[in-house]
Chain length 308, copies 2
């Protein structure tokens, strides 16, 4: 309880504001939206444009886009709209704009994730790189003293050692773009000691070795950690854990998609966090908001897409 | 955001009070403490006794117990103390009291979990049954409308289908003792649809079939669920999920120990939940509090130990 009381003032608040400020200062950002005829997506785009976070190029059914905007009184003035009623074609064109370097991020509208991802990963016309794709989310909590990033809650199901290394590298590169150099990176497991019966803890020992040898660089990485030791100095002290990451993690690396997704959802829905997330590892970030996300969450995701 | 705002009044508050009341109404409960010479454990026992939750029989070094009690001004008046300086022997005797039916729960003091568990699971003198041991935790959140139970955050590493079935059965039996008949039980994964690439979702399909056939009874069980669909009716509606469990789960079943432990810690340390937990599946509950638990958390764990 001491930890919780200590944090009651909510001193994690307003960390996100800095990101919003950074995004508005970076002028000229453009987001390319595939299949934009969706109420929620247009609303998020409009809010982001009004705040000066980015301009938007919309690919989708022009008639429907105008109808939705008028029906829900969404201001889409000044947005470039490319009339493309076919979803697959809209995805291809939205991806092409990013591939040509004319947009800073790709955003999914009302289309299946698989369809836009197929277009994005097309070997000839897509924005694929030789890096692995991975998902990064950010949380602003009243119970933590800074922004907390989590990877991977949505893309990689059960990454092996090499996969985990690439996921960490993706996140480190992304956080660098936010001005977080050498993020304190906690490898999360069910306990803080390596255990033969818990294979992920042994992978973490290897990752820590890679960080020590410089094979995995750009972050201060440690683990395994139980989550409390990564976010609470008091918990770490009780357990006798002496690590610069303990109680002060910037980035939490999850063992697999189940743990990552459950952590994401618990912070967003039960811890009352403000949150957003994007996919990185392609040439540019991919913003995959879902209808279940709040407007605020969609806006935060756009900010990440612009900054990463 | 609508969900979060909707819950802002904190209408999950005071659910735990009902459990405390139940525990005090059930008079004559006795907790057998192994290796009791520990400041934190004595404090929790004293607080529980003062509230009329249980009486305690302490097995441990009498001199040290008295010294700690006097040094920290902990009231242990009226507690039976059996002088046993040897930790292993203290564990054996504490277990024996439970095995003889003279105590309702076993509680760990300042001794390694492995030592007390070995004594508890001794085939001749222990409190082993043919059931699997599993861990159940409870959370009172300001963001949820009732108590939320989670299993298994601490014992079973990667339970197979049969293991998961037994973990659910243990939890259902335990919740029945709290007056929660037919708990709404959500099987947690990374998404709400079965997916060949996510083996746990296929196990869940089997568990749901078992529940339908009556092979797994006593609960309203459904899944796979992403966590948000289990605890938010709005999220479930957006996803088109029609299930009595959606948005109203009593019990969350986690895929493995990593997901369970990370969920537990995120609720306790980042969502500001009040929480407690015990091990069930032996003849009587085993209370394994750790020094990192708050005093309140230890007290809640004792309440569960008495009630389950």
């Amino acid at each position: 309880m001491k930890y919780r009381n200590f944090h009651k003032g909510g001193f994690g608040i307003d960390c996100l504001k800095e990101l919003f400020d950074k995004a508005t200062q970076r002028t000229g950002s453009i987001v390319s939206v595939a299949a934009a005829a969706d109420h929620h997506v247009l609303e998020a785009a409009s809010a982001a444009k009004e705040r000066g976070i980015a301009d938007f190029v919309l690919f989708g059914d022009l008639g429907k886009i105008n109808e939705i905007a008028s029906q829900h009184q969404i201001n889409i003035c000044g947005m470039e709209i490319s009339d493309e009623p076919d979803n697959l074609e809209a995805c291809r064109k939205a991806v092409a704009l990013v591939a040509e370097g004319k947009a800073n991020a790709l955003m999914k509208g009302l289309v299946d994730t698989s369809v836009i991802m197929k277009a994005a990963l097309d070997r000839e016309h897509g924005i694929r790189t030789d890096r692995k794709l991975s998902h990064i989310s950010v949380f602003e909590l009243t119970t933590y003293h800074k922004l907390l990033f989590v990877t991977d809650a949505a893309i990689n199901i059960a990454p092996d050692l090499q996969g985990k290394k690439e996921i960490v590298e993706n996140a480190v590169a992304a956080l660098y773009n936010l001005g977080i150099a050498r993020p304190k990176t906690a490898l999360l497991a069910a306990k803080e000691k390596p255990d033969d019966k818990m294979p992920v803890t042994l992978e973490y020992v290897e990752l820590v070795k890679m960080a020590a040898s410089g094979e995995l660089s750009g972050c201060v990485l440690d683990g395994p950690f139980a989550l409390d030791n990564a976010v609470s100095k008091e918990s770490a002290e009780i357990k006798g854990i002496d690590s610069p990451v303990a109680g002060d993690a910037d980035l939490l690396v999850c063992p697999d998609i189940e743990a990552g997704n459950i952590l994401y959802k618990s912070l967003a829905f039960l811890a009352g966090a403000k949150n957003g997330g994007v996919v990185v590892g392609a040439k540019r970030p991919i913003i995959l908001t879902s209808r279940a996300d709040s407007s605020e969450s969609k806006l935060i995701s756009i900010v990440l897409g612009v900054l990463f």
